[in-house]
Symmetry: C2
């Protein structure tokens, strides 16, 4: 027994000594809109009802409460990607649409910026435009998320909504400029995703974000083949104009559809007949062919950040279109994006195998509209038509089931977010670093502590 204890002590000393030389890193993977309905959609489709995602095999799991306030600091119960990414990135509770700014519209430092200041390498990878809310909140600070480039920062229209721009963030007013301008000159070592249009957008004689990046020696990539070999120094890769096309789509590009209601059913919904949409199968989206996968971008980023780096890194990876395709009522689009998230997770787990001091966190920013509903209805024995008042897609799964997805939060072309707490997953490093129930701002503090910042 004395011998065993001595051996344990020696082992502890070796482990501790080893730790000094180990890089220490955090990888935060954000599935945008990746709530439990989407996690289950992904599992049912990709692994089968009784299967398990790679995510499901992670040893640490919990739930994260989303917090949002209005202009008066009062709680509101449904968030957007801007305020939630800001909470994750900075620890602040803030208003919808804020990027790297707290509820009083003050810029607050991000975990990425703190890591860069402390000598860690840093990276951002997203399948959205890199100027979109979730990636932007880690390295930029603007009052309204749509202030993505030197043109839109002066106001415009985003998602069909007119906005005033961010006058306080204009360079000529002493601000840091639009998101693209800020990213161009940020300390971030590698930024990969979509959003070329925001880097070439030009306002009068002001330099574009691309020009700003070139001036400080950033290597700019735009073709996926360029990820095949390493580059030195700062790298920004922009592989599409805005959001990257997604991997999958439904048969003939079909998304959720309204029921076909007979004339009699339109007279009164309890009579006549209602025809549910035909099933859809998920298949390749041809527009994705020219894109690098999230896996390829992640592999490049991890290689770039870990090369000749004893200190470690902070990397955030966003699988953006779980949310974006849910807004568009496109379950195949969302599921293909979950497949991308799984592959990216595989890459970072592989890295963590050889570098045990790597904290991998997977979470979502907010919940979304999609719901798995019964196919057919639970009330199939009723002698009346039973149907969703919204739109549904009936997705054939590889195991031969039909997964019916309901989208019914509003009447316009884009669904609402929803307010459920979101899932939390982590590798074994999370057992100490995280709690089973956290608020998004507490994830920030946990990452800061892990990196000893």
């Amino acid at each position: 027994m004395r011998h065993a204890t001595f051996a344990a002590l020696v082992l502890a000393l070796i482990t501790h000594a080893g730790a000094q030389a180990q890089p220490r890193s955090v990888v935060l993977i954000i599935g945008d809109g990746f709530d439990d309905q989407h996690v289950t959609m992904g599992r049912n489709y990709l692994a089968g009802q009784s299967g398990a995602l790679l995510l499901d095999q992670l040893p640490v799991r919990g739930a994260v409460q989303v917090e949002t306030v209005d202009a008066d600091g009062r709680p509101i119960y449904v968030a957007d990607s801007a305020n939630t990414a800001t909470s994750l990135a900075t620890g602040a509770i803030t208003q919808i649409s804020r990027i790297g700014k707290n509820g009083n519209d003050e810029s607050v430092p991000t975990v990425l910026e703190a890591a860069a200041d402390a000598g860690y390498k840093t990276g951002i990878v997203s399948t959205a435009s890199v100027t979109d809310a979730s990636p932007a909140a880690f390295a930029a600070h603007v009052t309204i998320r749509a202030c993505e480039n030197p043109v839109t920062i002066r106001g415009g229209v985003k998602y069909g909504v007119t906005f005033a721009g961010c006058p306080e963030d204009l360079v000529e007013n002493g601000g840091a400029g639009s998101i693209a301008e800020q990213l161009a000159v940020s300390p971030v070592d590698v930024i990969l995703g979509g959003g070329m249009e925001h880097f070439v957008a030009q306002h009068e004689t002001q330099p574009t974000a691309q020009t700003l990046a070139e001036r400080v020696g950033v290597t700019l990539l735009s073709q996926r083949e360029q990820l095949a070999e390493p580059h030195s120094g700062r790298v920004i890769g922009l592989f599409s104009e805005d959001t990257m096309p997604v991997k999958w789509q439904g048969t003939d590009g079909r998304t959720a559809e309204t029921m076909e209601r007979s004339w009699l059913n339109r007279v009164h919904q309890m009579i006549g007949s209602v025809t549910q949409p035909e099933v859809v199968k998920c298949g390749a989206n041809p527009d994705f062919a020219a894109m690098p996968s999230l896996e390829a971008m992640t592999r490049y980023a991890v290689d770039h950040l870990s090369r000749d780096n004893d200190k470690g890194f902070f990397l955030t990876i966003e699988s953006a279109s779980i949310d974006k395709r849910a807004h568009e009522r496109d379950p195949c689009g969302s599921i293909g994006e979950i497949a991308q998230l799984e592959s990216a997770l595989g890459v970072v787990m592989e890295y963590a195998e050889d570098h045990p001091e790597t904290l991998i966190i997977v979470t979502a920013d907010h919940a979304q509209a999609a719901q798995i509903v019964p196919d057919p209805t639970l009330y199939k024995s009723l002698p009346i038509p039973v149907f969703s008042p919204g739109k549904v897609a009936r997705v054939v799964t590889p195991e031969g089931g039909v997964m019916r997805i309901n989208y019914a939060t509003n009447n316009i072309a884009s669904e609402e977010h929803t307010g459920a707490n979101v899932p939390l997953f982590a590798n074994s490093e999370g057992a100490e670093a995280l709690e089973p129930f956290m608020r998004q701002r507490e994830i920030y503090h946990a990452m800061m502590r892990y990196l000893e910042l």
Copy 2:
């Protein structure tokens, strides 16, 4: 160091010796329909957006996949309370509506029955009729959940749907009889909830379930005051005819409502105006006044099961009306029922403080329709009316927010279930006994292992 090791050894021996005398118990709390949307509704209302439920303070948390098959054994993606409670109770994957029977309609033993056989005391507590799916699946075996009493087992109408009954379960056909008949003569030491109508339902000259219970010496309770003092032997308490009235309701009993649409908006939904429902406040439901609370029933059950019992017990507690009120689009009803679940959890946590070998698990059977949606819409700047195609309730929270709940899975009087994986919570005993990701059938195996069955 040698001394410290010796002390640790002595401590281990003491702990082990102590364990022999300790009762070992499992308490499984099922929040019916208690998915992450409802958990968050409960948190936002009962603890505030930045607060924490008692549940949120439990040290073990995870997610549970729901599995359901159709008559041909193919996966289907949305469950009911019968097949899911059967999975939790027996480890079987089965069809919708089955109670204690597997996918081939064979009766399978339950964790409660195995515990009773091994000398543990056993209990069932529910705010539904004790013959309803979730409580029934732990101590009864019928093919169709509506076979609750000697009349309905011969067929009838439940939830507006005609069903054939369970001829194979009829006593005269060699079966075990209806759920009420089976519960009456079951080994369960304490059964508390609603459902008196099923115990007095009489078919011709056949004895009622109440008569069967009396014959075997069960003490029958029907008034909440009777819970004030202990009883010996088997106890069945039935405090309402069917489901117990819930604790809370919305202002004037209001539930979710459709939008009020102007004449112009009915011509085309992109014009005219839409008026959202007035807010509701949650208040006491007068019908609840005569009911024992779930807390009181739980306290009675725990006292009954732990009295003069060195072996331990298995107790399942259902907070049934989270689901039942969600079907009815009544968020205040669901939230009041979550408050009841929290209080019941408090009682068993108090017991576990003095009896450390008590595994407390809280989970749900399936997800539900309710969604927290933005109030106002995320698209409030659009110059068109934006509104839910379903029904919404706008609940004023104690912290002064407005939580808007959307119910939009169908057009009839009762919402559909949904298919997301459900939350899992446990006390520290769950750290060893449970995994972060489980299937419902695996919860059964974990409980069996914990009780060494």
